[in-house]
């Protein structure tokens, strides 16, 4: 049995105020896949992510992680399997030092302190950050905060990484660095993003949401070639696939 599967079956979510955020969403993401969930603002991307980690309960349908349905009883195990990185790292970094923050997850798992230390060391090395361990998170730059937040999730040794808008708010260099880092991971990865060039770099597969429903699910290249679909979903081709603004020639 693989823990790395993520499956949604007929997933729907209606918020208390009556807003329909997800309608009959189904997909199956298998071991080691890297998948982007894209869509306009309010298309339901963040609501979908909140379901993968059990923060929201489906109004109907179900989420399965590995072969386990997500229920109240399986929640702790599932939160160990699915690592969720929030859009705003400030929401995630709340301990006084980077080290303590990265140690927060492993300590909650009840690991012995030697193992916690090993995990923290490994996670911080992974994001190239061990030398900054004693820093308070609020003294870090935007890109560094993002990395610290990712390290905090990596330290829990998840099988599946779920990230909400990983590149938002980063300068071009920090963005490029982060894309490089994310490309090295071998986890099953799910990203939401408006950064379609990042999607092109990192995700062979893309799911397009519109008003809470899946409009397309397939190879990223095919989806970005479908201009009619993109414009209907208030999206556009990534810059890398648009004609060169200087000479007008196209890639591909």
């Amino acid at each position: 049995m693989s823990h790395h599967l993520v499956e949604a079956r007929g997933l729907s979510h209606v918020y208390d105020d009556g807003t329909v955020a997800l309608q009959d969403v189904s997909f199956r993401i298998t071991h080691g896949e890297s998948v982007a969930v894209i869509g306009a603002n309010g298309a339901g991307k963040s609501t979908l992510l909140m379901h993968l980690n059990g923060h929201l309960r489906p109004t109907s349908g179900e989420v399965r992680i590995g072969e386990t349905p997500l229920t109240k009883h399986t929640l702790p195990a599932i939160r160990r399997t699915v690592g969720l990185v929030f859009q705003d790292p400030d929401d995630q970094l709340f301990m006084p030092t980077v080290y303590d923050d990265v140690a927060f997850g492993p300590r909650n798992q009840g690991l012995p302190e030697a193992e916690v230390d090993r995990r923290v060391h490994e996670a911080l090395e992974r994001v190239g950050f061990w030398h900054l361990r004693a820093r308070p998170p609020y003294r870090l730059s935007g890109g560094e905060k993002k990395r610290a937040a990712i390290a905090g999730v990596l330290a829990m040794a998840p099988d599946i990484l779920v990230m909400d808008e990983p590149t938002s708010g980063l300068d071009p260099y920090a963005r490029r660095q982060l894309i490089g880092l994310l490309g090295e991971f071998r986890h099953t990865r799910i990203f939401t993003s408006h950064d379609l060039d990042m999607v092109l770099d990192l995700c062979p597969r893309t799911i397009v949401l519109l008003e809470g429903a899946v409009m397309a699910d397939g190879p990223t290249r095919d989806i970005f070639a479908d201009d009619a679909l993109l414009s209907r979903c208030r999206l556009e081709r990534p810059l890398a696939l648009q004609a060169c603004p200087v000479c007008g020639t196209k890639h591909d």
């Binding site: 980690n53 923060h55 939160r79 709340f94 927060f104 909650n108 302190e113 308070p136 609020y138």
Partner: protein, 268 residues
């Protein structure tokens, strides 16, 4: 920095707590116990006590020096309690007019003396508490209280209170900046003030919820586990015994009088 931000500038305290001195390394429980004993001792004097309170300053001063804490920053934090203490003690000189001290022609009533006593005690308690946070860190204090028998939900509540105070402070700073930007230097009207405070509450609420979600996502279940576990060793026992001994001595014996008598003896 706005007053709100100044009041809520706890991050620097967190940073200080990450320092490394013999005091920092002590088990948090030892430090919490001594601080509690200290506060009980100073609070249990009678309402006109002034001279006998002075020697108690030795405790916060010793902690601050031993842990090499920045004294100016801490004084600034401690001074924040003064207006509150003043407000509490201010009615005393009106109600308690009995003359207790005669300095030449100047008659000092009991009310003024008890006001001074209240201010001294507030300073002592604030200094001890802030020094405790600065050498221990708030999460570790909550952990210590829990290990000493405080119900877990209460300890976790305390911790959240602390964490959300900084969140509130940060939101307040952002809103103040945004208002000043377009405020044209005009004073804040009551109506606007109400709108701002309401907005602040809602924003903080949202943010607090996101932080809580992020904690849950990393396996938080209501158990707070901070730092490597420490234990009460010989050092801790010596620390508690030493300070409690000294504090009880200061509380039960009139040390100021001894010192005065000794000084007079030397002069003679």
């Amino acid at each position: 920095m706005t007053p709100v931000a100044g009041l809520l500038d706890f991050r620097r305290l967190d940073l200080l707590a990450a320092g490394d001195s013999a005091l920092h390394r002590l088990d948090p429980r030892a430090k919490v116990i001594v601080t509690l004993v200290f506060i009980v001792c100073t609070m249990s004097f009678d309402r006109y006590a002034v001279a006998s309170l002075i020697p108690f300053f030795v405790f916060p001063i010793a902690v601050i020096t031993a842990a090499r804490l920045p004294i100016a920053f801490l004084l600034h934090k401690v001074a924040l309690v003064l207006p509150v203490a003043l407000l509490i003690g201010l009615p005393n000189p009106w109600f308690d007019r009995e003359v207790m001290l005669q300095l030449g022609a100047l008659q000092i009533s009991g009310g003024w003396i008890s006001l001074l006593s209240i201010m001294l005690r507030s300073l002592l308690a604030a200094a001890a508490a802030i020094a405790l946070v600065a050498v221990t860190g708030f999460p570790a204090i909550c952990g210590a209280l829990e290990r000493m028998g405080m119900p877990r939900p209460l300890a976790v509540q305390l911790l959240f209170l602390y964490r959300y105070m900084t969140v509130l402070g940060e939101e307040a700073v952002r809103m103040t900046v945004a208002r000043e930007q377009r405020g044209g230097g005009r004073p804040l009207s009551i109506r606007l003030y109400g709108a701002l405070v309401g907005r602040l509450l809602l924003r903080t609420w949202d943010r607090a919820e996101r932080i809580y979600l992020a904690m849950c996502a990393r396996g938080f279940t209501g158990d707070f586990r901070g730092g490597p576990p420490s234990r009460l060793g010989r050092l801790e026992i010596a620390y508690v015994a030493g300070w409690c001994g000294l504090l009880l001595l200061l509380r039960t014996q009139d040390v100021t009088q001894w010192l005065g008598a000794a000084a007079l003896g030397v002069l003679r």
